[in-house]
Symmetry: C2
Subunit: 412 residues, 2 copies
Amino acid sequence: MKAQSTTADPALMRELNKSILLNLIRRQGSVSRADLAKETRLSRSTVSSIIDALLAEGLVQESGAGESKGGRRPILVNFNYRAGSVIGVDLGATHILVVVTDLGANVRAQAVREEFSISNGPEAALEEVSRLVSQALRAAGVSLDRVMGLGIGVPGPLNYSAGMVIAPPIMPGWDGIPLRARLGSQYKIPVYLDNDANLGALAEKWHGAGRGRDNLAYIKVGTGIGCGLFFDGEIYRGETGSAGEIGHIMLDEAGPPCKCGSYGCLESMAGGPAIAQRAEQAIRAGQRTALQRLARDHGLTAKDVADAAAAGDELSQQLYREAGRLIGVAIADLINLLNPGMVVIGGGVAVAGELLLGPIRQTVQSRALRASVNSTQIVQAQLGREVTAIGAATLVLQEAFRSPDLTIQMQL
Amino acid sequence: MKAQSTTADPALMRELNKSILLNLIRRQGSVSRADLAKETRLSRSTVSSIIDALLAEGLVQESGAGESKGGRRPILVNFNYRAGSVIGVDLGATHILVVVTDLGANVRAQAVREEFSISNGPEAALEEVSRLVSQALRAAGVSLDRVMGLGIGVPGPLNYSAGMVIAPPIMPGWDGIPLRARLGSQYKIPVYLDNDANLGALAEKWHGAGRGRDNLAYIKVGTGIGCGLFFDGEIYRGETGSAGEIGHIMLDEAGPPCKCGSYGCLESMAGGPAIAQRAEQAIRAGQRTALQRLARDHGLTAKDVADAAAAGDELSQQLYREAGRLIGVAIADLINLLNPGMVVIGGGVAVAGELLLGPIRQTVQSRALRASVNSTQIVQAQLGREVTAIGAATLVLQEAFRSPDLTIQMQL
């Protein structure tokens, strides 16, 4: 949210008015020139001249007649989502997923590589990304010169403006790699890098559970536990872009060591691997559970535990309740600090649904201050597996359609 | 941070330009009309006509000639801080402090009531506020019709837009009292209510340790432990205005009960009363300490412990180190979540200085993620006891001089 003090010169004002009109059209679906003039307080002739320019650029299109308000039925214009494409990349801990979307972040094609570990390092991963991008573009029938930009999400803390990850606990070998610059020079289009939780927040805010919300936190519970914060119309990234690391809230000073170097972090106690590990410990300690045979055949995953819990396995249900309780404590901390209005729970572990959300809600209710808890909804994420990639595409659109900023801030 | 989509009509543009010029003058001290025209890209004649209006209103004044850049030495204009006054009220847990400031939040007079407990309830407290406001206005030689507004800070969570505190743990009897409305109808001037930590953040940001910072967290360590968050030019208040409650971050699930109803909250383990209580426990357990005699004479306070620590008492130093370590754990959580750039430590307990800050820094260094910790300075607050009242006056000024907001936000 950069601010600059500036004032109106005619060229800037026209640019601004064009951008305002385009965003109104994007937001409202179909709208008439008269309604645009009314809403913006611009003259009819100014609106018409700008709409003509947008029609010529192909960014808006006419879409038949609207309801009459007395006279002729007005011709409506709407945003042409097909005017271009965007690439969204989800560079996950254990997979890579690429989508090609239209200008509304609607997925037109995707390409996935399963079971690819991010710890293979940047060279192998970027080669794989490159292959998947080509595959998805081919599947969508889109050539690179119709692509407005590429967004990419990674599972670690980063410096947003530098476009690189910083000391990421679960991305060995990636520290300081200039990821955004590398992809930018490869594809010659604008590239934006953000972490998966921020992109999840953006995707759920615009296309999922958070539609219409001003403030929300998106919690991604998977291999790691991350958080994206959306405040007042923007992702909140903090001073250097590494905000949102809820997975490293300390829950137990005497707790297990965490990959980050500290002890008793939420992630080390309630992330996917921690759930699986507790199940294995319980089995070794002789507890009866439907997981026993699975554990003999291969190592357990959090998904195995979730499946067993859904099928009624007592130990597995108990492990999810405990994970939910721990996540609930951290979310109570977050709600006390940030009073976010809505908390959206997503990520691989959250597909367990109410099994995880129930204990989260209970714990938050008993632990967070009434002033905030009464105004905070805790809900499950609506977007599925493509959430990070859709968020990455959304980030590109947000940056591409950003209006000239005329915020004037008080400076005492 | 409200946003509205709007565009330029001439009256609005003049209002906007006037406000931009006024804020430029406020920010820059002394400035010439030519420099204002250059910086704003407005025409010389527009600038001159607006400056004439501001001179007539008394909001700016001419201040002699600046340096020549070739021709005649230009006449400089500056903001007239004496054009009006503001009242700032600090309704503390155990005292009330009222300041009258100029339009730069510089204190012109103050009035204090010591040892007044906020648990006396709203009627007694508002009567006392009223008496102190009259006293401070008299001392400043200011009549109420020259006052732009009144700001008031309280030590509890609140609903900012409703102007009332909500279930405040240390303010029994205040829940739901329409504080802002009551003061507004009493004084017939704009009234703004916020919590003490938010106002501390605002005061330190504009007049103290945080000058020039975009993002900071102000931690107030006193009877309670609160936090004000300043992000991107504004106090972040959250969905209903109760953000910043760091004192209720859970540090130990098996910890002592907290006034909020939960257990092991930071405030219940490291606030002023907790420090004093631990000293008394240690004395009862037979530990040798310079505090022994004091404790016999009357109950101990955190200040007694700080004084003894400064004089070299081993037990007292150890208690502050432990409080600092606990506060450090919560600040590490906050830094991981918010990557704030700067953390300012203020409040009564923080006057202990490095005794508290040293262990805070050490703990943060070992607990927070490198991505955020390297970009976060932890410093002591610069403003003294008047910080909340100065923040309250600053809030009035921020709201009074807020420019028409032309932010255009992307809406997908």
